[in-house]
């Protein structure tokens, strides 16, 4: 690992990744795209955790990241299942059409 990459570098990468994910969540029409965006944001958080763990020499952050990843897997599985169910019922997976809660 080249020593030139500082903590700030990782944090900036994570921030950019988070912003890209958020942008995706807000702008994608397709629900699967939104799920992908959420995935990006979670991974940005993981990068943060790992980076802090590495630079602070504390393995707790690494362990925590493993938990996050496994929870993310469960969350994505659940999210995809929901999307498929919604598609079966409403014949669409476009987020703009799913406005049953409109006031």
């Amino acid at each position: 690992m080249p020593a030139s990459v500082s903590l700030q570098g990782y944090l900036i990468l994570a921030a950019v990744l988070f912003a890209v994910g958020l942008f995706g969540v807000v702008t994608r029409r397709n629900t699967i795209g939104i799920l992908l965006g959420i995935e990006l944001m979670l991974n940005a958080v993981n990068i943060n955790l790992v980076a802090f763990a590495r630079f602070n020499g504390d393995p707790v952050g690494m362990v925590f990241t493993l938990f996050t990843i496994s929870i993310t897997v469960a969350e994505v599985a659940l999210g995809l299942a929901l999307v498929i169910l919604i598609f079966r019922v409403r014949r669409t997976a476009i987020a703009d059409h799913l406005d049953l809660l409109r006031g």
Partner: protein, 626 residues
């Protein structure tokens, strides 16, 4: 039990006990006649107690038995009890006597009533006797007002005794409301007086007045308000309209309540507080003028009635006007004397009319005629009552009526005096009109039964005419003897009046009465003067009198106008002001909710966007350099 105080208390409490017994003992009340006899025994003992108290009562002294009812820090605010003095004991005797005789008479008059109704009738009678005695004996304004309202209630209940007849129910409500209009004035007057004097008690008030400690300024309003109560109760113009309608009740009730006792409560009130009214001469002059005007107006109205009870009712209004005129002239004793004599002979006239109605089955004098041959006893007693009312010497009403005329003349009310003289002429005329048409003259065809008698509900009607049973004739004879007895007594013991009447007064009073009788004789018996011609000469007055001077129409119009106008105004306020505010508020809420609703797009991405922006703003706010 030998002092007037305990005797009048006994007389007061007996009808109350009878009332509670009859009202609570349901089986007794259902038996009708038994209830009547219980009530009669109570009334008889009360009469005996009242008579003894009157006998023992000296002219000057008084007995006062009171208990504190509403306590206050200094002394008591209101007391209840009895105040027995010369005025209240003699009035108590009148109330107890007429009440007893009427209850006795009713046993015969209402014999065909269902027992349950008769029981109800005697419950009301007992309550009335108690309330009226409580009014007469009241030691202060509070008890007087309560009993005043109670007698009004009894009047309502007894006028509406045949409540299944719409006219009776309507008349009961009318009597209640019209007198209530005056009662409001009385209540206001009593409270205003309390504000100035700080007491309701007659004796304390009297002492204040004697000591000159009652401020005179503004007292006129107080006495005027108290007088308003008397106007309603004693049927003075313009609130006299309820009394003729009150004749829808049973005839004994009319005799007791609407001739002898309750309607005279207003006169009694003025007599009781005459020292107070003496402080406000302006109000007294008004009392005198209105009294004289009422006397004349009612006398004119009585001339055109064909219903025997209505003639008597207007005659009562007229005589009440006489009493009030004497009060207004400042000679309360003269008015009070006429109250007592009038109570006797007017009760006699009403009970006599009741006997006639009972036999004929109709109130219409043109359906009677020639009753002299069939009902000789009733004819004699009715004639005695009529002569008393007309003011013929040696009969009950002569002396008191002449005294009133003298009082009004000495009081300096010359126009009211001549009004009263005219009314005296008309009184003799209309009473003998009834006598000549109903008791003399040609017998009329028996009233068809299907017609239904307005006052003769339950009367046998038509068929064979005869005098009433002894239970009804006994009170009649007793009252007739009393009427003559009073007349002879006053002629013999000509008490010195408080005023000096001019010498021409007695001849004038007799001449006017005889003139009225002669006129009625010439018109309705000898038929020298054509009744149609008279009607033609006085056509405008006759038309107006037949329409009751449009007073009922005026009241009805005013009532409708006021009620409908007020309703329209209240309706407008409710519809446009109250509802308007609510409507505007609800409209604002609706639009506000509609606007806010649009925030909820239902699109998850909008919420995420909102979350992200909010989080960003929070972060900026936290990090903002301060």
């Amino acid at each position: 039990m030998t002092d007037p105080g305990s005797l009048v208390t006994l007389a007061l409490l007996l009808p109350a006990a009878t009332f509670f017994l009859l009202a609570l003992a349901y089986p007794l009340r259902r038996r009708g006649r038994a209830a009547g006899i219980v009530s009669l025994v109570g009334a008889a003992v009360a009469l005996a107690a009242a008579l003894r108290a009157w006998q023992l009562q000296s002219a000057e002294g008084f007995t006062r038995i009171v208990t504190e009812w509403i306590p206050q820090e200094s002394g008591s605010l209101a007391t209840v009890g009895v105040l027995a003095d010369a005025d209240s004991t003699v009035m108590l005797v009148l109330v107890a006597l007429v009440s007893f005789l009427v209850q006795l008479y009713s046993l015969g008059y209402l014999a065909t009533e269902p027992p349950a109704s008769l029981g109800r009738y005697y419950v009301y009678q007992a309550l009335f006797a108690f309330s009226m005695m409580g009014l007469v004996l009241a030691p202060g304004f509070v008890q007087l007002f309560i009993c005043w309202e109670l007698v009004g209630l009894c009047s309502y209940l007894l006028i509406g005794y045949w409540y299944d007849r719409p006219e009776a129910a309507r008349a009961a409500v009318k009597a209640f409301w019209v007198t209530k209009a005056g009662d409001v004035g009385l209540l206001v007057g009593i409270v205003l007086l309390w504000l100035r004097a700080g007491t309701f008690d007659f004796l304390e008030l009297y002492d204040l007045v004697r000591a000159g400690q009652l401020p005179i300024a503004g007292l006129g309003l107080v006495t005027f308000c108290i007088y308003l109560g008397a106007v309603g109760k004693s049927a003075q113009f313009p609130l006299h309209v309820w009394l003729p309608d009150a004749m829808e009740g049973p005839t004994p009730v009319s005799a007791l309540i609407h001739a002898a006792t309750m309607v005279t409560a207003g006169v009694y009130l003025l007599k009781r507080t005459n020292w107070l009214f003496a402080l406000t001469p302006d109000v007294l002059v008004l009392v005198g003028w209105i009294g004289a005007f009422t006397a004349l107006l009612a006398a004119v109205l009585a001339c055109v009635q064909s219903d025997i009870k209505r003639v008597l009712a207007y005659s009562t209004v007229s005589q009440l006007g006489y009493m009030m005129a004497a009060m207004g002239a400042g000679f309360a004793a003269a008015g009070f004397l006429h109250l007592l004599t009038h109570g006797i002979f007017k009760a006699l006239l009403f009970l006599g009319a009741g006997a006639v109605i009972h036999a004929v089955g109709s109130n219409d004098i043109y359906r009677m005629g020639g009753l002299r041959r069939h009902m000789p006893q009733t004819t004699i007693v009715f004639l005695v009552g009529t002569l008393s009312l007309a003011g013929i010497p040696l009969f009950g009403g002569f002396f008191s009526k002449e005294e009133i005329l003298g009082a009004v003349w000495s009081g300096g009310l010359s126009v009211p005096f001549w009004m009263l003289v005219t009314a005296a002429f008309l009184t003799a005329f209309y009473m003998f009109r009834v006598v000549f048409i109903a008791f003399f003259g040609v017998p009329a065809a028996p009233a068809p039964l299907a017609q239904g008698a307005p006052g003769g509900h339950g009367a046998p009607g038509g068929g064979h005419l005869h005098d009433a049973p002894p239970v009804m004739t006994l009170p009649l004879w007793l009252l007739a003897v009393l009427s003559v007895g009073i007349g002879v007594y006053f002629t013999a013991h000509h008490g010195e009046p408080e005023f000096s009447a001019p010498g021409w007064l007695t001849p004038l009073a007799i001449a006017v009465a005889v003139g009225g009788i002669a006129m009625a004789w010439l018109t309705y018996s000898r038929r020298v003067i054509s009744a149609d011609l008279l009607a033609e000469i006085f056509a405008p007055i006759r038309r107006a009198a037949l329409a009751r001077f449009w007073l009922d129409d005026l009241f009805e119009g005013l009532y409708r106008g006021a009620v409908l106008g007020l309703s329209a105004a209240v309706g407008w306020v409710d519809r446009y002001l109250v509802d308007g505010v609510v409507n505007v508020l609800s409209a604002w809420t609706l639009t506000g909710g509609d606007r806010l609703r649009r925030m909820q797009t239902g699109l998850p991405q909008d919420y995420v966007y909102g979350l992200a922006v909010g989080l960003l703003l929070l972060l900026i706010w936290v990090q903002w350099p301060r």
